[in-house]
Amino acid sequence: MPTLPADTPDFFHRGPSPAARLVFFALLSIALMFLDTRFRYLEQVRQVVGVALYPVQRAMTLPGQAAASVAAYFASKRELAAENDALKARLAEVGAAAQGVATTRSENERLKALLDIRTRFGGAALAVQVLYTGRDAFTQKLVVDKGRDAGVAPGAAVVDADGIVGQVTRVFPYMAEVTLVTDKDHVIPVKIERGGARGVMAGSGAGRAPELRFMPPSADVRVGDLLVTSGLDGTYPPGLAVARVAAVERDTGQIFARIALAPVAGVDRSEQLLVLGPSAELPARPEEPASAEGEKKAGRSRLRRGG
């Protein structure tokens, strides 16, 4: 019986075997992940694919918008009247407060001029709409409908009517990605409004309360205290509401108290957001002594990125 020679040509030429392809693409993916996390070389690729995907993403927001507009069309007269009354009441409330703000602001301006303090936040802001919330189960991000084209810059603070929502972390030509304050890698320098004690708030991921870190057990923190941005990072303008203290657990055996927070902004609800303009440059940091230079620099740059 004749045996086939070893170099018999294939009936069908199919290229490399699936296993070989799998190994090739798996190695490529791992290399990509490594490059993405360690060096951030791939932002250009991401930008290009992002622009190509943009029409699809926009198209997929249309059904939801259509459903919302149909629902709005059929909203009953009574609902509209009730909403109108509520809005009027809110307007009166806000109007009264706003008058106070105008006088306070002018007074503040004069005092600041006297003290020669820089105005850190000019008030330029851009209204954006949430396109969709992040689908990644591991991070807390959302995508908004304005990008570099509209002047959104990476690092800009994002707020809603009640307080800080997060920070712009990646900018595409027509969209921007916002990392929420509840993200595990997000840190904001805050201070307690009541006593002025400073601290940092760190997110803990989906479904977990953010924490106020590095506060000694003896710190003056009470449940219900409001935390505002301290502005020390040069990213968030000072004085914006961030969170309220939800629970304080003091264990003298531990170095730090465990303080759970609840964000005041509708971090996972708000649809309309405001991207704040860049805050004014902080004065340059004084020179560090040469010996501690390397260590200090690493710590500082981490803080500056806002986590």
């Binding site: 199919r14 694919v49 997929m60 969709y132 992040g134 189960a137 591991f138």
Partner: protein, 178 residues
């Protein structure tokens, strides 16, 4: 007058299907990608199946000459950008999924659709577990158990999806031939 009649039942094992058209595969993959980009929230987001993984699985099993590891990998890259996630995590997961589908395809095809669905659930859960592994190694917090809910929902969608995607390949049955 011959009228084309669509058949809403799984194909008979003896039925000879027509070859898959390349544009149809591409269109369904694009549609699946678009479905994955639907802006959802709340329960819908928790239960949202990975349509793209399902489509890749389906075509790797039914038409391995059209969709293989390479196409799956490219779709995964698109998904990574759309989801704003780590670059390469979906690409890796989909490439492995495509390989597993090619490896198991003859076995899967022997079973009726509802039994195929059980095997699909395992494959989708494996795909999700791979993403979980990559992210946890990268320092992400562990998600809640609902992380694996989409794999089950995807498996439930497998039988109707199979019938739907098979329609264009069914031999034309007209009213004249009845």
């Amino acid at each position: 007058m011959a009228i084309r009649i669509p058949q809403f039942s799984p194909a008979d094992p003896n039925e000879v299907l027509r070859p898959v058209k390349g544009w149809f595969v591409a269109a369904t993959l694009l549609a699946a990608l678009a479905l994955n980009l639907l802006p959802l929230s709340g329960y819908a987001l928790t239960l949202r199946p990975d349509f793209l993984a399902l489509a890749i699985l389906y075509w790797c099993i039914q038409a391995p000459r059209h969709v293989g590891v390479g196409v799956a990998w490219l779709m995964g890259l698109a998904m990574d950008v759309g989801d704003a996630t780590l670059f390469g995590q979906h690409a890796l997961a989909y490439a492995v999924l495509a390989y597993a589908a090619e490896y198991f395809r003859r076995r899967v095809l022997r079973f009726p659709l509802w039994q195929q669905a059980a095997q699909v659930a395992v494959l989708l859960a494996f795909c999700a577990a791979l993403v979980l592994l990559v992210r946890v190694v990268g320092g992400a917090p562990l998600p809640r158990w609902t992380y694996f809910a989409p794999a089950l929902v995807g498996a439930l969608l497998w039988p109707p999806l199979s019938v739907l995607l098979q329609l264009p390949q069914r031999p034309v049955r007209t009213s004249a031939s009845l």
